[in-house]
Amino acid sequence: MHAIRITFRYRPGWRHFENQGRLPLKTSQFIWLIPLLPLATALINLIFRQPAAIKRIRQLSAAVISTTCLISLGAIFEMASKGGSGRFVISHIWTWIQNPWLQCNVIFHLDRISLVMVFLAALTALAAHSFVPRVPMPDQQKWKIYSLIHFAFGMTALFILSGSLWTGLFGSVGISVAVFLISEFNVTGESNAGFRSLPLPALLIADVLLLAAVLFLQTNYGFINNYQLHSFTAAFTHGTVPAQLTAVILCLWAAVTIKTAGLVFAGWTRHLSDCPYPLRVMTFCALIPVYLLIYIRNADLISAVHFGGTLLRISGLLTMALALFLMSRLPDLKSILQQLPVLVCGMLTLFFSLGKPAEEALVLFIAVTALTAVWLTSEAGERSPGFRDSGPQSGSSGRIESTRHRAHLHIRDLSWTVGCLTLFWMPPFGGFPAGLVFLHEYPADPIHIWLTAILGLMLVFCFGRVTTRLFSHRPAGGAASSSGWALVFAILSITGSAVFCSMLIRGSDMLIPAFPGAPVSALLKTGTGWKTAFIPALGIALAFAAGLKSGNLLKKRQSDRTIRESVPEYAALKYLWIDRLMSWIFVLPVKKIGEYLWIFDDWIVQFLFVWISTAGRKWSEFTVAFDRWFFDSILVHGPTALAAICNKLLRGIHSGSKWFTALAVVTGFAIMLLVLLYMAFLKGAG
């Protein structure tokens, strides 16, 4: 055996570049610090979690996250300065397993997407970090929040930067653990312990599916990093997919769907609504959307013309529809906002099914969406009553009705409005150019137009639901919003965007992203005359009204309830039919099988052992009885009787009785005769 040898260094020779040969990169040489520093900080926080040290923990956290931000920003500039589609692979960070048959190293793969995503994750972590002091809980316990932010960020960075399949798997499982720990940490200290929509099983099952895909690819195609995967999947872009790869595609799709809370897997996200809002920001703005990277890396394989594209299309549409449905049903602003990343993930999934988007467009879109989500989630967190009233009960509620008491802060209302408008791609805010660049890649054929139209209507509804919730109601006994002009501003923006998009669409062959305008553009391209103006306007109005109405209905239904509703009741609201469906399909059957097997196992074992022990007891009783009989009759009574007979005989002889004397003489002669006969027999035999 050799002495311990740890390889954990960065040598210039380890990196290679796809397009430009060896480049003297500088900042990116320290890229491995991005996942390492936060993870190390989380560990340090865990070890030195002295209540008095909270200030130092805060300073250390700020320093670490700022450093990672700077490193990732530096790397982005460096990459941008090279031009082209430069990318490089750090082929060796850590030797994990190395033997003649298996080689697994930690590898980093840096390109524009990964660098931008890691920068956004760092920014999100920085934002979350800056919100921590405002969380209404004792300072002594805040080290947990800092640690969780660092842990989550470290694992997210590892996942984003992963250059090989197994490195990605490592990060993915780390993210699952982070989400689980976050879900278990809430202000009240109570946990939503339940099995049906528990985050950890759901997320780890997704990881097992990823593991299956990794194992298959690694076993059948050797050591695979992202780079090889790129060229490998390109071979399957057109034409039929082998049966085994179909399984890989399904595994990847199912894993991403679970991790991004798509389709019926949205249940686990609702367990995060009670955690402190910086952690919620981290989860919903970084940990969930990051899984789209799997689609990005495997776009050639997944979004091609084979069944993968159809699967994604249906999956994306249904995810969006379901997210919108949940948004219309959930009473809690936090829960509604939690559906936003799901909605965005569904949207991106849908677009991936239509074709691989350009890298720049993807970068811009992801950046705008992530930052807006951070913005809105933090706003919602600040508006929750727990922020002001530090009581545990109020901290866990965060209901919409109770959000108006901060309405005097006009700037916050405006900020909220702008955030919503940005998220839903309304001009003139950041979402619009992002969407424009994103959709520019797709030709304006009828399918794309109709899909965009459907998306537009969905999002208008969503916009009506989310944005106007802040302004349209007066809670009983609560202060109303005085920022009516913010609502006016929102409505003007929507109207303006509709007009703007209608003008744009007439001379253009491309899709128009602003969603209020999308239905207009769709119908303008498919119809003519006055209907082209009236029908889309009607559609928009109906969708918007539905959103408002949805809010009204919910408000009306909740008006009788007080703000001090108990937590269990609130928790009960979280279990929707989707959770029950999941339970019926997956959980209950498995548990039932387990129970029957246990009964069977117990019965078999008990039967065998009872039978064996009964048989053993019976055998034991028999042998004891036999022993007793044998011992008593042969060994005890026999010799005793013989001795008694001899005794009687001798006594008789000694007493001088003739009969006994005669008997003794006959016996003596008989014995002598027997002895002589025996001796004769022996002699004869000899």
Binding site: Q98, N99, L102, G174, A212, T219, E595, L597
Partner: protein
Amino acid sequence: MDTGSQFPFLSLILGLPAAGAFLIVFFRRSTPRTVGIFSVLILGLTLLISLVFPFIESPTLNGYQFTEKIPWIATLGVHYQLGLDGISYWFLELTLSISLICLAVSGHESMAQDKSFYAGFLLLTSATSGLLVATDIFLFIVFWGLSIGILFYLLPQKDERRVGAAGLRFLMSQFAGMLALILAFVLLYVTASRMTGYPSFSLIAFQNFNLPVGTQKWIFWLLWIGFASRLGLFPFHSWLSQTINQTSIPIAVFIGAVSLKMGLYGFIRFSIPLCPDAVITGSQTAVYLALISIVYGALLALVQADMKKLVAFSCISHMGFVTLGLFVLNNNGILGGLFHSIAHGFAYTLLILVIGWISRTYGTSLIQDFGGLNRMFPGLGAFFLLAGFAYLGLPGLSGFPGLFMIFSGTVAAQPVWAAVALTGLIIGTAYMSWMYQRIFTGPTSDIVARSAVRDHPGGKTVFLLTAFLIGWFGLYPQFIVRDIHPPAGRVVNIIKSHHMLRDYTSRNKMDSTKQKKSSFRLPTNPDMLQDD
């Protein structure tokens, strides 16, 4: 006396705990605590000596190292023969370190108030180490029997007057298994003696024999019964859950972390190298039984109401994983099986130590009695979570590399097997996280709220050390892999060479059959007849 090295290190490793056990007889006036400290020191010293081995000789490069050979029963060809290679080295380290942990935490156990417990435990360590380094089959079976006997003696808690049903179940299962082993070894001995003309029990000598395939099959399946009984595989699992549930925590730790693994060691040391042809034909059945163990154990674990029983059933599932790795008969599978059996020991130890502390403190191990424990003992929850995650095979922790390699090997052999085994892992995720949720989170249960215990559990150093090892093996599996891959490779080479031989023989047979057929046809071929 023939010793490969200058100093009989292996005898020292076996002798030191045994001598310690003997010396405890003279501790008449000492308290159990003093005896406990003495035992820990003895085992610590033994562990330290074993840690020096890699610096003296490499057990991985040239087969067995530190060999010792002394004639014992010359007429039967029995020798006191010891040797160490990479596989036995790591199993030895596992045995010694887990034994040390068991003794270090046994101070609170009721049965540890009896000094004979420490003597028994030292003897148990010695016997278990002995069967790992024995290269004579007779010696192996002696140590095997000794370890079972001593475990049976240590099983009952002190307050129990007699050995309970669990103990009897343990004894019956293990002795039935040992009987199968003895039969297999006698068959092996007789066959080999007839072939060579001289009696021998040497494992090294047996490895060079090419036994008839029919005999190999008998030996393989008898060995399989013996080792599977020890490993707790389906259908020989019934003793495991009751034994772990009813015995004291140190013994439960030893059984799950060390004793079970002796079955796996038997597979890799005896079954596969001695009966390669039978393994090739019978591996599929062994894999199916392993798969049943994986899913069956996991499903039963899912519905257990008792923590200890849940962990015991999860052991059955995990032993299924390691057996699956071995019998897919490729490098990654075997390497993964070996690695996971070592790594599982540490994760299981931490898990059962936490559960043991909980059950001892609150007097129950029923899951339904607990809730919200995390609020009072967050550290305990963290250790439990870490062990549970390692158990589930989370990357970065000790469970992952082994499972990764097992699955890698299984996918290469037959992807469907991997898919079935993955379901076991998925159910494992469910039962482990569910157990954590019910015990540590949620509202505080009555039993926890009423309890006056507010202090954190003792033995933090042991917890931390085990947690460190779990992390270390997860992040740097190469530490173990580089030592065990050469001997594992040798085992695979044996299988491969026999596979090739079988192919060659069957091809020759086919050729000869074809020739026979063609020669039979020759006279009937009119063209050839004409040529003739």
